[in-house]
C-alpha cells in the first residue's frame, strides 16, 4: 500500500499476460487462417495457465495498490481471478471439444473469452467505481458478442439482441446510480466513502450522506444493486437469463453461468463488504431501523423460488440449467444475508462448489448435444447404456446440484445454511427452511436427467467416443466427490482469501 503509483505495475502481471495472449491469439488467427485446428485453443490455455501460475505464486505476498491506487491487489481479488482462470480454461476446453462448434475464425472466440476474463480481473480487483464499471462493461461487451457468435443462427442472434438490450439498460441504470453516489460523497473510491481511507479534496463519508439524505442514498443503492443483480441474474433482473442461456452457444452459456456470475458476485461482495460492513455506515443505516441483510434475504427468497419453479416446467435440459443457475444465485445470496466474515466465506465456498458441479453439468450437455443434436430430456433416453461413464458423471453432477451427499454441493449448502443461521439468533431460519424446500423441488427436475439416462429405453442412439472430453468430465465428477471428503483445502483457501478483503480497515 506504500507504493500506489505506477512503480507497482508488476502487480498487474496476470492481467498483462492475459491481455498479451488474447492479442497473440487474434493475430495468429489472421496469420494461420486455418480451420479445425486446435493450436489457438492450446495457446489460450497456455496463457491462462501462465496467468494462474503468476496468481498462485503471488497469492500470499502480493498485496497492494497500483495505477494510482485504482487497482487493488489482494487475496480476495486473487481468489476470483484464479476462479476465472479455472472457469475460462474449462470453457476453452469445451470449445475445443464441442462437436457443434463452428471451426472457422475460432480465434475470435478465444480472443473474446480472454478479453472478458480481463474485464473480470479488473472488476474484482478494484475499490474504485470507475474501474468497476469499465471492467464490468469489458466483460459485458465481450459477452454480447459471444452470445451472438453463431451469426447464421436465429436463436443465437436473438439471444445476443436480448442480452444487449437488458445489459445496456442495466448498465445505464447502474452508472446513473454511481453518479448519484458520487454527487453525495464527492469520491468514487469505496474506502473513502466508507470512511476507512483518506480522500482527495472535498469528500464526505457515506455515513454522513445516509444521515442527511437517506432517500437519495437509497435510490442510488437500488440502481447500483440493480446493475449487479443483472450480472448475477437475481430477480427481478433475471428475465434475460433463460433466453440468453438457451440461445447462446453452449460453451458461452457455461461461461455466462459460471465465470460471469461469479465475477458479479465478487464485485458485489466487495461493494457490500467495504461499504456496509464498515461500522460507521452500518450504524448510520441502523438508525433508520434497516439492515442490508433484510433486503438481500428478500431477493434471495424470491430468486431461488422463481428459478426453481420455472425450472420444473422445462423440456430442454439447457433451459432447465439456465433456470437452475438463477436458483443457485439465490442460494449464494442466502449466505450473504449474514453480512459477516463467515457469510462471505460461505458464499465463496458455495461458488467453488457451483464451479465444480455446473461446469460438469454443462460439459455433459455439450457432450450429449454433440452426439444427438438435441437438448431435450427425451434425447438423453437410454444413453446410460451407450455411454456409462459420462452418464454416471452426469448423475454425480445433478446430485451435487441438488445438494445431496456425497458431493461438494452438499457441503456448499451446509456452509450457506450454517452462515445464515448463525446471525441474530436464527432470525433467518425461515430463509434456510425455504432453501431446503427449494432443494426438494429441484430434486425433481435434476433427477429427471438421471431417469431419462438410465430408466428409459434407447432409440438406438450410438455414441462416438470423445476421450478428451470424457476424461475431463470424469475428473470433474471425481472432484465433486473428493472435495466433500477432503474439504479442508477449500476452507483454508476461502478463509485466507477473506483475510485481506477488509484491506485498510
Amino acid at each position: 500500500m506504500q507504493d500506489i503509483h505506477l512503480t507497482g505495475f508488476g502487480l498487474l502481471s496476470p492481467e498483462l499476460v492475459l491481455g498479451a495472449v488474447s492479442l497473440v491469439v487474434l493475430i495468429m488467427d489472421l496469420v494461420w487462417k486455418e480451420r479445425g485446428s486446435s493450436r489457438l485453443g492450446w495457446i489460450s490455455l497456455a496463457g491462462l495457465a501462465l496467468s494462474s501460475f503468476l496468481l498462485i505464486l503471488a497469492f500470499d505476498d502480493s498485496v497492494g495498490q497500483t495505477a494510482f491506487g485504482i487497482v487493488v491487489v489482494d487475496k480476495f481479488g486473487n481468489f476470483f481471478k484464479l476462479f476465472t482462470c479455472g472457469a475460462l480454461a474449462v470453457v476453452v476446453a469445451f470449445v475445443m471439444g464441442d462437436q457443434r462448434e463452428r471451426k472457422d475464425r475460432i480465434g475470435e472466440y478465444y480472443f473474446l473469452l480472454l478479453g472478458a476474463g480481463m474485464g473480470i480481473f479488473f472488476m474484482v480487483g478494484t475499490n474504485n467505481l470507475l474501474l468497476l464499471v469499465l471492467g464490468l462493461e469489458l466483460l459485458s461487451l465481450a459477452s454480447y458478442a459471444l452470445a451472438g457468435f453463431h451469426k447464421g443462427e436465429k436463436r443465437s442472434a436473438e439471444a445476443a439482441m436480448k442480452y444487449i438490450v437488458f445489459g445496456g439498460f442495466s448498465a445505464g441504470i447502474m452508472v446513473y446510480g454511481i453518479s448519484l453516489l458520487y454527487g453525495l460523497t464527492g469520491t468514487l473510491d469505496l474506502q473513502v466513502m466508507a470512511g476507512t481511507a483518506e480522500g482527495v479534496g472535498l469528500t464526505r463519508s457515506l455515513a454522513d450522506a445516509v444521515m442527511t439524505s437517506p432517500s437519495t442514498v437509497a435510490l442510488a443503492m437500488v440502481m447500483i444493486l440493480g446493475g449487479f443483480a443483472f450480472k448475477i441474474s437475481v430477480a427481478p433482473f433475471h428475465f434475460w437469463a433463460p433466453d440468453v442461456y438457451e440461445g447462446s452457444p453452449t460453451p458461452v452459456t457455461t461461461f455466462l453461468a459460471v465465470a460471469s456470475k461469479a465475477a458479479g458476485f465478487g464485485a458485489l461482495i466487495r461493494f457490500l463488504a467495504v461499504l456496509f460492513m464498515s461500522p460507521d455506515v452500518a450504524a448510520a443505516v441502523g438508525t433508520y431501523g434497516l439492515q442490508v441483510g433484510h433486503l438481500i434475504a428478500i431477493l434471495a427468497a424470491v430468486t431461488m423460488t422463481l428459478g426453481n419453479l420455472a425450472a420444473v416446467r422445462q423440456d430442454s435440459v439447457k433451459r432447465m440449467l439456465a433456470y437452475s443457475s438463477v436458483a443457485h444465485a439465490g442460494y449464494v445470496l442466502v449466505a450473504l444475508v449474514a453480512m459477516n466474515g463467515e457469510g462471505l466465506q460461505a458464499s465463496m465456498l458455495y461458488l467453488v462448489a457451483y464451479y465444480l458441479m455446473n461446469l460438469g453439468a454443462f460439459g455433459v450437455l455439450i457432450y450429449f448435444h454433440g452426439q444427438t443434436g438435441k437438448e431435450t430430456y427425451e434425447s438423453l433416453n437410454g444413453l446410460g447404456r451407450a455411454a456409462p461413464l459420462i452418464s454416471i458423471s452426469a448423475v454425480v453432477f445433478v446430485v451435487s446440484l441438488t445438494g445431496l451427499p456425497p458431493t461438494v454441493g452438499f457441503y456448499g449448502k451446509l456452509a450457506v445454511a450454517s452462515a445464515a443461521m448463525g446471525v441474530q439468533d436464527g432470525a433467518y431460519a425461515w430463509l434456510v427452511l425455504l432453501m431446503l424446500l427449494n432443494s426438494v423441488v429441484s430434486l425433481y427436475y435434476y433427477m429427471r436427467v438421471a431417469k431419462h439416462l438410465f430408466l428409459r429405453d434407447s432409440d438406438g442412439q450410438t455414441v462416438r467416443p470423445q476421450p478428451a472430453m470424457a476424461a475431463l468430465l470424469v475428473v470433474f465428477a471425481a472432484l465433486n466427490v473428493i472435495f466433500l471428503l477432503y474439504v479442508e483445502p477449500l476452507e483454508k483457501w476461502t478463509a485466507a482469501s477473506m483475510d485481506l478483503l477488509l484491506i485498510g480497515r
Partner: protein, 100 residues
C-alpha cells in the same frame, strides 16, 4: 447556475430515456434510450464534479462514459444488423424463437 438546474436536466433526460426504453417496441429506440440514460449520468458527473470542487474523477468518468457508449453502440448495431439479416425485423417481440 445552481446545481439544481443541472440535476433537473439530468433527471429529465433520464426519465425520457426510461420512457423511450419502456414504451417503444423498436430495438433502435431502446438503444437510443440507453444512450440518453448514459448521457444523463454524464451531466450528473460533470455537474457534481464542478460543484464539489475538487479532483478530476467526475470529469474522467464522463470521458469514459462517452467511450463506453460508443463501444456499446458499435456492438449493439452489429447485433441488430445480424438480427435484421436473419429475420427481417428489428422488433424484439416479432423476433421470438426462444420459448417462454
Amino acid at each position: 447556475m445552481a446545481l439544481e438546474a443541472y440535476i433537473g436536466v439530468s433527471v429529465a433526460l433520464f426519465a425520457l430515456g426510461l420512457v423511450c426504453i419502456i414504451s417503444r417496441r423498436n430495438i433502435l429506440y431502446v438503444l437510443f434510450g440507453v444512450e440518453m440514460i448514459l448521457n444523463a449520468a454524464s451531466i450528473n458527473f460533470a455537474a457534481f464534479n464542478y460543484f464539489n470542487g475538487g479532483g478530476i474523477e467526475g470529469r474522467v468518468f464522463v470521458v469514459f462514459i462517452i467511450i463506453l457508449a460508443a463501444a456499446e453502440s458499435a456492438i449493439a448495431l452489429a447485433i441488430v444488423l445480424n438480427v435484421y439479416h436473419l429475420m427481417k425485423t428489428v422488433k424484439p417481440s416479432e423476433a421470438d424463437f426462444l420459448r417462454e
